[in-house]
């Protein structure tokens, strides 16, 4: 059994710390962190795609699939358990991507971006047109139990927070291990030189397809958790601006580390709340301004503040 | 014509060139000889303006080049042939060669005819698209393009590398002819075999430092 590497250890420490301080946090803070982590999951998937050399403007598709699956679980599966809902949301997103990926994995750059956008907007259109799903109003979502425990009292206060934390930790740690493996090393290789990868006997399309499915699963999980935390599901989750927000988080945090998207998501939520509280009519200006500053001065994302520069040889 | 005085150049805080000084007169063919990684390409890119020196001066025909952007340096008469050719794949050979003329808004068809006369191999390819060219053919096109701009100074980065011996000899003759007509030429190579007989002066570059070997030219 390999010893836990530095990143996984640090993630573990962060997990324990966040769990430990939770009794001290007010409700709004727990909620903010939960929703941020859910969005961070989507951004983590985007970071994986960016490391493969692709930018998706349509992760909202899977985010919405995760949210709607979780919300419809009582109706379609007779299920009331939050853990089941998250798993179902993850699975439904991944299954749809497994099929769509057969087409999308053939494209790159602007064509890839446009295709991903297109599919998410197709779902948006379908959701808006379905009165059974509440069309633009959506419907309320919620769970009664989590992993068997009834969602009341103390459990209710912490359950989703803990669930979000565990999902974030597990995703970050597993993705880190994946990227460090032989299969995972093909991800930056594909981004750098697809021709060479083929000439070494590996299939570029298979690597891209796999990463698309992994990113979609993360987005589905994030969508399900966010839906349960907010208590509501609506088609906006599939809209292109939602997808754009995830891209923004990925750029803000940078692709340097698996923990970065979560930090970026929390910071963005804090920034947005702060801007809205202090400049309710111009908060978008504030957020846009910050984005501009980050791109100008920290083009590799906030995480580059922590990274030491990699030396070449003399 | 070209005067480089005491320049330092770093890339990503790694010092590539140290206190480099050299000069090439009109009608002189200079060789910049050194191993890979010694700094030949870096020096040429600095003269052309793709990199800025940390200190020191570069002058062309008496005019200082600091602050002058790359495209303006080209219009001043510097022709540059990069080691990796950089041919535009969607354009034909003729279009690639004429690119500098279009950029300058000048009609240089006479010059084109002259270039075709000097290097008939390029004339034979003129309607071929860039992406259909072999590596060596791209090199020829890059050379022709450099000749389009190079009215005063020619910078050729490894012009004979990747080129069949027959053609390398021909190119060496072309370069010598241009030198005889008054152009200042500097070419870089990792060894002297192709150009020994032609060079008027040899600069050796090693780990970013340049020393001038004795004047070489001989019949």
């Amino acid at each position: 059994m390999k010893p836990l590497d530095r990143t996984v250890r640090r993630l573990g420490i962060a997990l324990v710390a966040l769990l430990a301080i939770s009794p001290l946090l007010p409700d709004w803070a727990l909620f903010l962190v939960t929703v941020s982590l859910a969005k961070g999951l989507v951004a983590l998937g985007l970071v994986l795609l960016m490391r493969t050399g692709l930018v998706s403007f349509g992760q909202g598709l899977y985010y919405a699939l995760g949210a709607y699956t979780a919300g419809m679980a009582p109706r379609f599966f007779g299920a009331q358990d939050a853990l089941f809902m998250v798993l179902a949301g993850t699975a439904s997103a991944a299954m749809v991507c497994a099929v769509l990926g057969l087409l999308i994995a053939r494209y790159r750059a602007i064509f890839f971006a446009m295709l991903s956008l297109a599919f998410s907007m197709i779902l948006y259109g379908l959701l808006v047109k379905s009165p059974a799903l509440g069309s633009t109003d959506g419907f309320n979502a919620g769970a009664q139990t989590v992993a068997g425990l009834p969602l009341t009292g103390m459990v209710a206060r912490y359950a989703l927070y803990v669930l979000a934390l565990l999902c974030a930790f597990a995703s970050a740690a597993l993705l880190h291990r994946y990227l460090a493996s032989h299969l995972g090393r093909l991800t930056p290789a594909v981004r750098d030189n697809e021709l060479r990868v083929e000439y070494m006997g590996a299939s570029v399309r298979n690597v891209v397809h796999l990463n698309l499915v992994l990113a979609s699963a993360l987005a589905g999980a994030g969508g399900a958790i966010a839906a349960l935390a907010v208590g509501h599901v609506d088609p906006e989750t599939a809209y292109w601006t939602t997808s754009g927000e995830f891209v923004f988080v990925a750029i803000l945090s940078g692709t340097g580390n698996v923990a970065a998207p979560f930090v970026g998501a929390v910071l963005l939520e804090l920034l947005r709340n702060f801007a809205y509280a202090h400049a309710p009519n111009t908060w978008q200006l504030v957020v846009g301004g910050v984005m501009l500053l980050v791109i100008l001065f920290l083009p590799e994302g906030l995480w580059s503040l922590f990274r030491r520069r990699r030396p070449g040889t003399a | 014509m070209l005067n480089v005085a005491g320049i330092d150049v770093s890339i990503q805080s790694v010092r590539i060139l140290r206190d480099v000084s050299l000069s090439v007169r009109k009608g002189q063919l200079a060789g910049l000889i050194g191993r890979n990684g010694a700094g030949k390409t870096t020096l040429m890119r600095t003269i052309v303006g793709a990199l800025a020196p940390g200190r020191g001066q570069i002058e062309l025909d008496g005019r200082p080049l600091s602050g002058v952007p790359s495209h303006a340096r080209t219009r001043m008469g510097i022709g540059y042939m990069p080691e990796d050719r950089r041919i535009v794949p969607q354009l034909t050979v003729e279009e690639n060669v004429l690119l500098p003329a279009w950029a300058a808004g000048e009609d240089r068809r006479e010059r084109l005819a002259r270039i075709y006369a000097l290097i008939p191999e390029v004339a034979a390819l003129k309607d071929r698209k860039g992406l259909q060219l072999s590596g060596g053919q791209q090199k020829l096109t890059a050379l022709a393009r450099a000749l389009m701009c190079g009215t005063k100074l020619l910078l050729l980065d490894e012009p004979f590398e990747g080129v069949a011996p027959v053609l390398a000899q021909r190119l060496a003759e072309v370069v010598a002819l241009l030198r005889d007509e008054g152009l200042a030429v500097m070419l870089s190579e990792s060894d002297l075999s192709h150009s020994r007989r032609l060079l008027d002066v040899v600069f050796r570059i090693d780990r970013g430092e340049v020393t001038r070997a004795a004047e070489e030219r001989g019949p």
Binding site: R185, P188, D192, E198, T313 | G136, Q137, A164, L167, D191
Partner: protein
Amino acid sequence: MAAILETTDLTKTFGAVTAAAGISVAIGEDTVVGLIGGNGAGKTTFVNLVTGYLEPTLGTVRFAGTDITGLTPRRITRMGICRSFQIPQVFESLSTRDNLLVGLGIVSLARRSFARSTVVPGRTPEDAADEMLTRFHLEKWRDAVASVLPEGIRKLLDIAMALAVKPRILLLDEPTSGVSADEKFELMDLVLGAVRADRVTVLFVEHDMEIVRRYTQRVLAFYEGRVIADGVPADVFDHPEVRRYVVGGGAVVPARERSC
């Protein structure tokens, strides 16, 4: 001796341009063959056709008796034919060691689909990578990112990556171009030394005739997509058409002047 590589009437046209015109050659196992020719003569096209990068307009390619015409580079690599590139194709953002590990990792993941394998059971890809670093004198560049490597080292890395698979046929496209004179021999000695023990057939495209003369047992000279001469180096260099279109002038191939 059965041919390990055999092309029959191999032809490739791009509209009006004929890059390869009916090339028929049979290459035996365990030989080193030089491919020479002027620019645009068809040498790289030949390599591209054999390795599956291009699909022939006409003709076939057989590898150890099996028809591989039209197969993808991925399949052909797994069957045991590898190549290096005129402009080194490496993974710019990865370290030298990681570049090697990409190939070695692929082999260890899909071992059964690869004809031979550098990674034998019991030896990890990491060990194989370290051993290759040592064998190719790349230890000092081990952790350097590929984008900072000098040209000669990148060329060497490109070739080393092609060897991760332990091919039966290795095709090198201008292995010494861009490499300084005093490093050329070292590179060729290193590469050929690394493959000789495994009886690998090596074909390399070269413009440096001294390298060709010194390392090959057979030379194919190309001109306008055809093979105009085929034989031992001395004979091919003396061939009148080869003199005219490739090596030049009446004199024998000039002796190398080394820079010091």
